[in-house]
């Protein structure tokens, strides 16, 4: 049984649907007077953050606390990690403290995979974003948001995203959100199109199970959801695109472009948004933009993931066991 969530590619269709369905039940807890469940009482969840990300950390923290787990926040800043302590020694410390799960955010691609396969710790590892690799819980909350909006809250139970046409726009090359979404959305039966300037599409993308377009206007009319990725202004200095204005003109979503999308199509953004860059304020504040909803849904998804990984004596997800193929 799989005990970690490292990559969205590790999830089968049934796993993903189980997580979404579980999250749907978790979402109902938020409507109750007491928003807490005793399920993970006595379990310890460590949020191990080597990179600043207050949003993701508090989302995991809220999820773990609603399930009554003990939460330890370990930030690399100001800790011995910044004084040169290795990931291994940090992991051994957490293991000694009895962490049942480690939620890790790391600037290096593969660090969570390494943590899960190295034998350094015995608990579950949940990837909360690693370098430019993956961010599977973000993809899950995106899929959850899409299913609620495009299929229906109750009508969506037990269903996937078959037939939904999803367009992801922006810095695909450096985006862990895009990688996880391509895996997960296609597993769930959606058709994914990536849109970016060619400089921000990775070499090797042709093996991904999706379409690639350089022309945003060409795909808007056939998109049920358009996900705008954050574009770092620093990319401009590395010559990925000439100017912010040119990027916004060619790949930004404004009201005029949004009007060309199908009537019920939604606009998504993992946040934080660069208003005026990839998305205008008009679009960001429109009812079609789900950015705030995505944050809310993030807690439900993370509750579902923590419950399914830690709620029993073994996880409920059916994907293959962690492999030790490295040795």
């Amino acid at each position: 049984m799989k005990r970690d969530l490292i990559s969205a590619a590790d999830l089968t269709r049934d796993d993903a649907v189980l997580i979404l369905d579980t999250a749907e039940e978790m979402a109902r807890v938020a409507d109750r007077p007491i928003k807490k469940l005793p399920t993970l009482r006595g379990r310890t969840v460590v949020n191990l953050f080597f990179e600043d990300s207050t949003r993701t950390r508090i989302s995991f923290e809220a999820a773990a606390k609603r399930l009554s787990a003990d939460v330890i926040n370990f930030s690399a800043k100001g800790s011995s990690v910044s004084k040169g302590e290795s990931l291994k020694d940090t992991a051994l410390t957490l293991e000694a403290m009895g962490a049942d799960a480690v939620v890790i955010r790391h600037p290096d691609s593969g660090a969570p995979h390494r943590l899960a396969t190295s034998g350094w710790i015995g608990g579950s590892v949940v990837n909360a974003g690693d370098g430019t690799h993956e961010h599977p819980t973000q993809a899950l909350l995106d899929a959850f948001t899409m299913r609620r909006r495009l299929v229906g809250v109750d009508a969506g139970l037990g269903k996937d995203l078959a037939g939904c046409r999803i367009t992801i726009v922006g810095d695909i090359l450096h985006s862990r959100v895009a990688r996880s979404n391509v895996h997960l959305l296609t597993t769930l039966g959606a058709e994914v199109t990536l849109v970016a300037p060619p400089t921000l599409v990775p070499i090797g993308v042709e093996s991904w199970p999706c379409e690639v377009s350089y022309d945003l206007d060409a795909v808007l009319a056939t998109s049920d959801a358009v996900m705008m990725l954050r574009v770092q202004r620093e990319r401009m200095n590395a010559a990925f695109f000439p100017t912010e204005r040119e990027y916004a003109r060619r790949y930004g979503l404004d009201g005029e472009r949004m009007a060309r999308m199908p009537q019920d199509a939604i606009v998504m953004h993992p946040g934080p948004m660069n208003r005026g860059m990839e998305i205008t304020a008009e679009v960001a504040d429109s009812p079609r933009c789900t950015a705030v909803e995505q944050v809310t849904n993030g807690v439900s998804i993370r509750m579902a993931v923590l419950y399914l990984l830690l709620g029993g004596n073994e996880p409920a997800l059916t994907t293959p066991a962690r492999t030790e193929e490295s040795k």
Binding site: L87, H133, I203, S326
Partner: protein
């Protein structure tokens, strides 16, 4: 000095013959040689090769003795069947002066396991800005003829041109680590399908190929010779093939790991597969094998790069690049080239001894197995099958990508100038 009779060895893979070693030289090669007064080694059909020569070894001394020393590195070399290794210049301090190369040379002499030919740095501190005292290193007791900034590319075209021109005066060669630095900023692995999925910074083939293309043109222009280190892509093979077809003085090496491993292994994020240049694709591996077989690539060089455990027992991006290779090189070559019929044992002798010795201008190595020649010999049991266990390595480091993998063949005896450095698979 005593006599040794190697009985029934397939010399370069030919018919079984006896080889009599007397003192430092081969006294006789033939059948039914007299064993009188000689220690007898029953080769029983094992392959006898000229002592292997490595053009590319990192011995780490001075400076990183925690990963390897000249002594442990030469022991590893002997265990792998090598009788001469070229020690790369990226030590601390850098081997960019006559003093450092002489120190390394002297340490090699003292070790007694394997001849150590120091490589001199092309530029001061490997910084690529100012030529090191190439002439002084050549004139030193180390007699340096191979110069390389390996680990870094001599990327400045003018510096490269000058170096190529300058070493002509003493028949030197510049061994280029071909890596365009701007195209490989933040590079972690081969750029392609796998890097796109793993989100690791890409090291594109073109970063190697563009430098090789430039350097073969430069070498042709100034009439010097250039050697390409650890060539790793199919495109690089094409460029070298083209340069050779023009008659230009270009040689190239390939590492054992680039003949066997691909970037698919990086999916494990296990830094034991992190190496520079990175593991490439299946198509590259096949092109490299073919090029080694047809002679476009002149030789196998190990790029033996020892690292202490802590530099590999960490996350991928924090890990050091490199693999140890001396003790597995011949087995990997047998597996990737001989067992599938691409190369015969005479070809192995050519690619792992004759040609690298010729490129390095080593006079007493890479010689034929015949009477009167220096007795630098390697006896290889090609029928052996075993699983690689780094715990048994003579190297101080264990960063092998082959741990637990079954590889064919094993070196049973190594002779350095008639003296056995390895006997029955163990260091003498």
């Amino acid at each position: 000095m005593s006599k040794t009779l190697i009985r029934g060895a397939k010399v370069l893979g030919g018919e079984p013959q006896d080889v009599l070693i007397d003192g430092e030289t081969i006294a006789e090669v033939g059948t039914d040689l007299s064993a009188e007064g000689a220690r007898v080694i029953e080769a029983d059909g094992q392959i006898l090769l000229p002592g292997l020569v490595d053009l590319h070894t990192h011995l780490r001394e001075p400076g990183r003795e925690d990963s390897e020393t000249v002594l442990t590195g030469t022991k590893a070399a002997a265990a792998g069947g090598f009788t001469a290794v070229h020690a790369m210049a990226n030590t601390f301090p850098v081997a960019d002066t006559a003093g450092v190369v002489e120190q390394v040379w002297r340490l090699g002499q003292e070790s007694g396991y394997c001849d150590v030919q120091p490589v001199g740095a092309v530029t001061v501190g490997l910084e690529g800005k100012k030529l090191a005292e190439l002439g002084a290193m050549h004139e030193s007791r180390a007699g340096v003829r191979v110069f390389s900034d390996d680990g870094k590319c001599v990327d400045d075209a003018v510096i490269m041109r000058r170096a190529l021109e300058y070493v002509k005066a003493f028949d030197g060669v510049v061994a280029q680590h071909a890596q365009e630095p701007r195209l490989t900023e933040g590079a972690q692995m081969n750029e392609g399908r796998v890097s796109a999925e793993l989100g690791l910074g890409g090291w594109p083939a073109v970063a190697e190929e563009s430098i090789i293309a430039r350097d073969v043109l430069l070498a042709a222009h100034v009439g010097s010779r250039v050697h390409i280190c650890h060539l790793s892509t199919a495109g690089s093979v094409e460029i070298v093939r083209w340069a050779k077809s023009k008659g230009w003085n270009v040689t190239a090496e390939v590492t054992p790991h680039h003949l066997l491993l691909t970037d698919e292994l990086v999916r494990s994020y296990d830094p034991v597969y992190k190496v520079n240049p990175p593991l490439r694709t299946e198509a590259d591996v096949l092109a490299l094998r073919e090029a080694l077989a047809d002679g476009t690539i002149d030789c196998v060089a190990t790029d033996h790069a020892p690292h202490p455990h802590e530099d590999k027992d960490c996350e991928w991006s924090a890990a050091a690049m490199g693999m140890v290779g001396l003790e597995t090189a011949l087995s990997v070559v047998q597996h990737t080239m001989v067992d599938n019929g691409l190369l015969d044992w005479a070809g192995v002798a050519d690619r792992m001894s004759f040609r690298p010795a010729r490129i390095g201008r080593l006079e007493s190595h890479g010689r034929p197995v015949s009477a009167g020649e220096p007795a630098n010999l390697t006896l290889h049991d090609s029928a052996y099958r075993g699983v690689v266990d780094p715990a048994g390595f003579a190297s101080r480091s264990r960063n092998t990508p082959y741990e637990g993998r079954e590889l064919p063949g094993r070196v049973t005896h190594t002779f350095l100038r008639g003296r056995a450095t390895v006997v029955d698979g163990k260091l003498a």
